[in-house]
Symmetry: C2
Subunit: 321 residues, 2 copies
Amino acid sequence: MTLPQRVELYEVGPREGFQSEAGSIRTEDKIAFINAMSQTGLKNIEVTSFVSPKWVPQMADAEIVLKSIERVPGVAYRAAYLNLKGLERALTNNVTLDGSLVLSASNAFSKRNMNKTTSEMLKELPEWIEAYQKAGIPIKQMGFMASFGCNFEGYIYLEHLLEIMGKVIALAQSSGERIQKVKLADTMGWANPQQIKRTVQAIQDKWPELQIHLHLHDTRGLGLANVYAALEEGLWEFDTAIAGLGGCPFAAVKGAPGNISTEDVAFLCEQMGIATGLNLDALVECSKMAEGIVGRELPGHLAKGGVLSDIRPRSWLQEQG
Amino acid sequence: MTLPQRVELYEVGPREGFQSEAGSIRTEDKIAFINAMSQTGLKNIEVTSFVSPKWVPQMADAEIVLKSIERVPGVAYRAAYLNLKGLERALTNNVTLDGSLVLSASNAFSKRNMNKTTSEMLKELPEWIEAYQKAGIPIKQMGFMASFGCNFEGYIYLEHLLEIMGKVIALAQSSGERIQKVKLADTMGWANPQQIKRTVQAIQDKWPELQIHLHLHDTRGLGLANVYAALEEGLWEFDTAIAGLGGCPFAAVKGAPGNISTEDVAFLCEQMGIATGLNLDALVECSKMAEGIVGRELPGHLAKGGVLSDIRPRSWLQEQG
């Protein structure tokens, strides 16, 4: 097994992190936070979500945030959207779009999160394809929530995941589009490292050219072990959130850890000689800033344990080389 | 790479965890906590430390704790000791002893922790051998603090670790003893998964019959990734602490996570089909008890994320099977 030479971390903290905060985050805090993250080396930052302010009041300032941030050249500013109305807002607000088709691998989660079954969601994909094509956005990506397990349904069978993946690929193909990347989300923290490996191997056997991107949660503590397993399979793209922002509204207990932490994943990679392009000290500063904004301690380790980059951190790599 | 079929977790929370608490823990709380842990399936519990109450007042009740706990048949109750006086106390207080020879792989940490260089400590080992032999305890084990890195010295070179390991093995041999197990401690949270693998492979190349036991800390977030890497190399013995009790007096920031969490490691293993012999729900209860005793939230994830064992947790294993 050969580890990748570099990884790309997609920051989701300002969207997924702030979205799950009980209190409201001040718009100017969001802007300052995103501006600070733009200076860390991150190339992809999901800054907000185009959702109804009725359901997610924390994201009511989506347009203002996108207009006010200082855009650093080379950084893609992204946004989440869950319906066609959200896509419309995204199209007029200068965000980088993937042209992604998204379903939940768990039917129970789909009902709960989108009020539609996975089959119903699948039937709506042609509308999405039409909307993307009308906007001139190539459809290169598909995404699956709850790809590994679900608090309301249990483990997701790999066969089932492969089956719905196949359906989405075929659907895109029939509209003249070619899916090149799949984003698998472990929305509720169910994956384990062996399951990650088995899933990646099965997908690579079936669709060798499909790139796999992981969105992992650390809800039950296996987040970084899962990242390591994925790295061993050659994966190199991960969604992460500064400080482990994110929480999980579906965890057994409120306040459970959410997304895997950007700085911890970056540290894991850098310690093993995998380039991240990120400044760890700058990430730690952003991590502390995030704690200040939400007003409590967050789960990321590195800010507490210390980067310690002044103390011969690379000598074992030299020894190895 | 084949994962082991079972693992053995050595609980160190009551010793290493409570030792690093700023406030004093009531003796009756310690006893109730150890009694609860005796009911989880744990077979090894380090309950206290025979150190000078002048330096570690939290452990002044070592003898009372050992006399008062309800000993469950099949559970080994252990204690730490750092000098020959401590060993003497251990010998008269009904604890399971390994006959272990312990050094620090980091010279700087040795000076700081023991006020002696690693060489000076090495020169004292014949006294330890003599004391063990006098007590009729076979010397089967050696241990190394700061085996992977040190906040005061940086990364520990593998060559250096192998060299001092060789010296201890030779020393024991010259006294008619055969070292069968090495305990490598990542005292300050420096190890990364690749380093773990490289270290294990080098040791197994040189001493194929030597069993390797790991004592890992999660100070900088890589604890469970390191466990997974070790499992992939076939290791099956780990020191862990309920709830991630432990802290690290040498971390950059007070309150940084300490030992890897017993319940999180057990969950990782069980999810991958590795038997732990442990009751996860009972461990989670102990984890909550630990939080009550120290009066604050602790880093272990499982109590927050939930075991969720009622929701088809094993179906992917069945599918695999």
